[in-house]
């Protein structure tokens, strides 16, 4: 009995130590992260006059403006459309690379894996600038077209350019998800299919592709979420002509100073993200069962 009391006390002291060790982290996340998020919620319901003077009170005006004004509604829909397009394109261009990395026996394999993922450490501003040089009106693509006497393309300051740039920027994230998915495939299953006489095509469609779906899900989630909140690339490659939620939040917060509207857009974005994450969890749990 007495011994138990001592171990209880010891366990309690250990838990106390554990809490003490996480205290700085709790303070950082609490004050530096949770408070700002709660603050957004509060401000989003505050009335505002002339677009910039905050008043005390409670109103749904900013939400009504966001959902009621066709401009903001189209910015929201355009963001979702952009995220879906970029995710699908990024999947299509990254899947062959990931499949190649999964299958290759080259001694360069690990180098190629690093080359595939490392671009995500290069600043988005830098990579976007690279795309501006390629896609701009006097850029590489159009200069070559002009030399060949072909009609030039509008690839810059518009939606097309934004899609191309974002697709490339999402590739390493997509690769992270896909490579994680391929790594979980038991190689003996592919060998078994081959030894049972399946053609390479059939083996891919019936074995490898279905088994890689969890990785596809993870890659698509990362790409979708990051494209939805991407700000740098749409504002530089879109040249102020591609209006997405992220650029509008910035615009309302910094230029127009309509904080309640920016806050309302942020709250809606956050809720949308939670819905997407819940949806993703449902699907990925079904994959776990399979």
């Amino acid at each position: 009995m007495e011994k138990r009391a001592i171990t209880d006390r010891k366990a309690l002291r250990k838990s106390g130590e554990a809490v003490l060790l996480t205290l700085p982290m709790m303070l950082l996340i609490g004050l530096g992260f949770l408070v700002p998020l709660i603050w957004i919620g509060r401000i989003s319901f505050q009335p505002v006059i002339e677009g910039s003077t905050l008043l005390e009170g409670f109103t749904f005006d900013s939400y009504a403006q966001f959902f009621g004004d066709p401009f903001y509604r189209s910015a929201a829909l355009r963001s979702i459309q952009l995220a879906v397009t970029v995710t699908i394109l990024a999947l299509l261009v990254t899947y062959p690379i990931a499949l190649f990395l999964h299958r290759t026996e080259s001694r360069w394999r690990s180098v190629l894996v690093v080359i595939t993922i490392a671009p995500l450490l290069v600043s988005a501003v830098v990579r976007t600038y690279g795309w501006m040089v390629i896609l701009g009106d006097a850029g590489w693509v159009n200069s070559v077209l002009r030399m060949l006497d072909l009609p030039t393309l509008r690839l810059f300051n518009n939606y097309t350019g934004t899609v191309i740039g974002l697709t490339e920027i999402m590739m390493p994230y997509m690769a992270l998800g896909l490579i994680a998915g391929f790594n979980r495939i038991d190689p003996t299953l592919e060998e078994a299919a081959a030894s049972l006489g399946a053609t390479p095509m059939r083996r891919f469609l019936r074995v490898t592709l279905p088994l890689s779906l969890p990785g596809v899900g993870l890659g698509c989630l990362l790409s979708f979420v990051l494209t939805m909140s991407a700000f740098v690339t749409p504002s530089l490659l879109g040249g102020g002509r591609v209006f997405v939620v992220a650029t509008e939040i910035y615009n309302q917060a910094i230029a127009v100073l309509n904080w309640p509207l920016a806050a309302a857009m942020s709250v809606v974005t956050l809720v949308f993200f939670v819905v997407v994450l819940v949806f993703y969890n449902r699907i990925s749990r079904r994959w776990e069962v399979l």
Partner: protein, 266 residues
């Protein structure tokens, strides 16, 4: 059953093209940095290293680089000081509500940066701290600390706990065990976390753009603003410098531990 040689070659060409697309933005950046042209021309008309001298004369870039360097170092130290004890408590001690706390500590990875940026802007404005080192340091620390915790948790969970147990049964105090056994074994993970923290802070632009105000600037913010109004070779030269800094840090980290281990976001 082997695929035909034609299929093999088509496959190789496709993979090569996709890799070229993945690395596409790097080539023009390097080439443009060695032109003296006032704007984008293809092929470039004049060659030289003028752009590299010009970025050293550009006040916004030099001041931004200084700020980013100072902030990056402070953020790295802070994130380690806050993240290491938290990771240790989660991995080794009976922490109440462990899973909830871990989810909370890594939640900045899930919440869109743009939303967090606005929230921090509103709070900083309220307390009159917009455009301060304080705001930038808090913002960057919040953003990098989940990576510190992830990397250290992986290291702690793959490290044999028996070594620590052995030391403690031989009579070492918990503090002594941590200082003499755990910490040295964690050194590679701590170096990786430090390298990644510095890099992420040094490159962070979205949240910084919201909270820099008009007085303080960071290098990526200065670069972003310059890119909005110019397309000259200075951007390319600065980009090359940033890429080189990234490569140096990545190689340094790669030599101590695999970097890719630390990058698993989920």
């Amino acid at each position: 059953m082997r695929p035909s040689p034609l299929a093999v070659w088509l496959n190789r060409i496709l993979i090569t093209l996709l890799f070229i697309f993945l690395l596409a933005p790097v080539f023009p950046v390097i080439m443009m940095s060695f032109t003296n042209d006032p704007y984008i021309m293809f092929p470039p008309q004049t060659w030289g290293v003028e752009a590299y001298w010009n970025i050293l004369q550009n006040r916004a870039f030099v001041a931004g680089a200084q700020n980013s360097l100072i902030i990056g170092v402070i953020v790295t130290v802070l994130a380690l000081a806050v993240g290491i004890p938290a990771a240790y408590a989660i991995a080794r001690l009976p922490l109440p509500g462990r899973d909830t706390l871990l989810a909370l500590f890594t939640s900045p990875l899930i919440v869109p940066n743009i939303v967090f940026a606005l929230g921090l802007l509103l709070v900083l404005v309220y307390f009159g701290l917009l455009g301060s080192y304080f705001g930038l340091i808090v913002a960057h620390t919040v953003l990098v600390v989940p990576f510190v915790i992830r990397i250290l948790l992986t290291a702690l969970n793959t490290m044999p706990a028996e070594v620590e147990a052995a030391a403690s049964t031989l009579g070492a105090t918990p503090v002594r065990v941590f200082m003499r056994i755990t910490l040295p074994l964690l050194r590679p993970a701590i170096l990786a976390a430090a390298g990644l923290s510095f890099l992420l802070s040094f490159d962070e632009v979205t949240v910084s753009l919201f909270i820099v105000g008009t007085s303080v600037n960071t290098l990526p913010v200065a670069l972003f603003r310059y890119t909005q109004s110019h397309t000259d070779a200075q951007i390319a030269a600065l980009s090359v410098v940033l890429i080189l800094i990234t490569i140096v840090i990545v190689l340094a980290v790669e030599r101590t531990v695999g970097l890719m281990k630390g990058l698993g976001r989920h």
